[in-house]
């Protein structure tokens, strides 16, 4: 995406942030709910993008970590703990569980790893459903309170949307830092060529576990925001289909691209709403659109953009070469 000039990029970024703050002020309750959901799912997808997109480790368990975070937050806040404390617990818990789930990735890769993580996803779902002394079982947990931030109540949809947006902003900045740090390079080396990475001193074991743990921790953060957003949770939203949805968000947006998860989450959360006028057909249209996109560009929407910009650069460079060559020929 280096095709854009830097000031233009900054202006565009500021415009998007301003729009995200100002435009929703006129939204109704439902619009704000959808937008808050987008922010929450973007956080979860960003975590999976780290594990899968940057470090190349397939995971079908991201939805389970959203569940772990959501239950941690629901249980704690209904017992009178403040949400920030619950978020910290959600992070620590999902980080630790994600770290342990990373161990199979040291032995198995690709679709075998997908199966291991799928099994974990099912296991987590069974815990949410069956351990009713803790999770409320199929009845779930209701009346999850929304937090007071600096003494301000966020019960109403707009203030809580700002809580979600601010969390997204913090996570985005942290991710930007991580991706640009040597860790980001090491994760990418892990994905591209683990053999070469090892021979350059990169501790592939530790980075693999870290990729899993950090990605899972972001799933936990998303869950800890999801619980007060819906104010009621039961096991169903955290079954395997959430993991698959998150996987699709990452892939459709563009795995391994920084902005991929934002875009993927937007499509997954907002597109069904926009296609609502088609009534019963929206899921079908959505499915066909995803299939066409992936046939056309397996690297997702940002992969498409990247390809277009790369082609333009190559064309510009070859045009320059042609000019130089013709000058050389006239000079001779």
């Amino acid at each position: 995406m280096s095709g854009f000039a830097k000031p233009l990029k900054i202006a565009l970024g500021l415009a998007v942030i301003a729009a995200l703050i100002i435009v929703p002020m006129n939204f109704n309750r439902y619009g704000l709910f959808i937008l808050s959901q987008w922010a929450v799912m973007s956080i979860a997808a960003m975590g999976l993008n780290l594990t899968l997109g940057y470090a190349g480790q397939v995971s079908l368990a991201q939805g389970a970590f959203v569940g772990i975070g959501a239950y941690a937050a629901a249980i704690m806040t209904t017992h009178g703990w403040p949400l920030p404390a619950a978020i910290v617990v959600a992070i620590v818990l999902s980080f630790a569980v994600g770290w342990v789930l990373g161990y199979p990735a040291l032995r198995v890769q690709h679709h075998y790893l997908a199966f291991v993580t799928l099994a974990f996803s099912t296991l987590a779902f069974l815990v949410f459903r069956n351990e009713s002394w803790l999770t409320g079982g199929i009845y779930g947990i209701s009346n999850i309170p929304r937090p007071h931030i600096f003494g301000l109540a966020t019960n109403k949809p707009l203030p809580f949307y700002y809580v979600c947006l601010a969390s997204l902003a913090i996570v985005s900045l942290a991710m930007w830092w991580l991706i640009r740090s040597p860790w980001g390079r090491a994760f990418m080396a892990l994905r591209e060529n683990p053999l070469r990475a090892q021979s350059l001193g990169i501790d592939t074991r530790r980075y693999t576990l870290m990729a899993f743990a950090i990605g899972s921790a972001l799933g936990g953060v998303a869950g800890a925001l999801y619980a007060p957003l819906t104010q009621y949770i039961d096991p169903v939203p955290f079954n395997l289909s959430l993991s698959l949805d998150l996987l699709m968000m990452v892939i459709v947006g563009g795995a391994g691209f920084y902005f991929g998860p934002f875009l993927g989450a937007m499509i997954a959360v907002l597109l069904p709403e926009w296609l609502r006028f088609t009534e019963g057909y929206y899921l079908m249209l959505y499915a066909v659109a995803v299939m066409l996109l992936l046939i056309w560009s397996p690297t997702g929407i940002l992969g498409l953009l990247d390809r277009y910009l790369a082609e333009r650069r190559t064309k510009a460079a070859s045009a320059l070469r042609a000019v130089a060559k013709s000058r050389l020929e006239t000079a001779q």
């Binding site: 740090s181 040597p182 090491a186 591209e192 070469r196 350059l200 501790d203 530790r206």
Partner: protein, 247 residues
């Protein structure tokens, strides 16, 4: 001269097949040791056993007198043992400079400082020096995948030197490199060997390259050491001529 690397009776079996059948040798500080032999004689397997990429079925590897058998490749690399690959192993999407920064980043600081420290890990200067040294200046910001084969070979070698290694194992550095670039590569290797006091072991089939670069040459055949000595001695050895060099 003391030994940087001591290899004692290294064996590697794949199922019932013995790829390396008890190889012992030392590499002296500052020397360039050539390793030659017919295809399939176990040279690369021996490298992989020394580097921890394969775990040997028997035997011992010592680095500076310390047993390092069983260490992981990343641990060995951080102890100063580096390598190049027979087949190209650069990171094609990263630029030449980023490849070199990546090659050096794990050699300084710790996990925490690599997370919160500078994004280039303070290695841009070192990478630029290496780029200049290998005459890759005009390609520094190009993605490595766009370089020619020979240029990628040079980059692969440059990456091996980024961490300031004591010992570098080069697996066919001259393979597929054109003669003028080869002369360049040899000159660079000799310079690093002298100036940085780095010790090399070089697998190579290009005899002229090996004989002019190396101070000693080890010949392998069928997983065993056939001969070891100065290049001119090895060249005249009847067993070596029979097994490898040809009449």
């Amino acid at each position: 001269m003391s030994a940087v690397l001591e290899v004692t009776d290294i064996k590697k079996n794949f199922g019932g097949i013995s790829a390396v059948g008890g190889v012992s040798f030392d590499v002296r500080e500052g020397e360039i040791l050539g390793l030659i032999g017919p295809n399939g004689c176990g040279k690369s397997t021996l490298f992989n056993c020394i580097l921890g990429q394969l775990s040997p079925s028997g035997g011992e590897v010592k680095l500076d007198g310390r047993v390092v058998t069983g260490l992981r490749p990343s641990e060995l690399n951080r102890l100063g043992v580096s390598r190049t690959f027979q087949l190209l192993q650069v990171f094609p999407k990263l630029s030449v400079r980023e490849n070199l920064i990546l090659a050096g980043q794990e050699h300084q600081g710790n996990m925490a400082s690599r997370l919160v420290g500078r994004s280039d890990a303070g290695l841009t200067d070192a990478a630029n020096q290496m780029i200049g040294f290998f005459k890759l200046d005009h390609l520094a910001d190009e993605p490595a995948g766009g370089l020619s084969y020979g240029q990628q070979k040079l980059l692969d070698a440059a990456m091996a030197f980024m961490g300031g290694p004591r010992l570098v194992l080069l697996d066919e550095p001259a393979g597929g490199v054109n003669p003028s670039m080869l002369a360049d590569l040899k000159e660079r290797l000799v310079a690093i060997n002298r100036e940085k006091n780095a010790t090399f072991v070089v697998i190579e089939h290009n005899m002229e390259f090996v004989m002019s670069l190396c101070s000693r040459v080890m010949v392998m055949a069928e997983g065993k050491v056939l001969a070891m000595g100065r290049p001119d001695e090895v060249r005249k050895n009847p067993a070596v001529i029979e097994a490898y060099l040809g009449h």
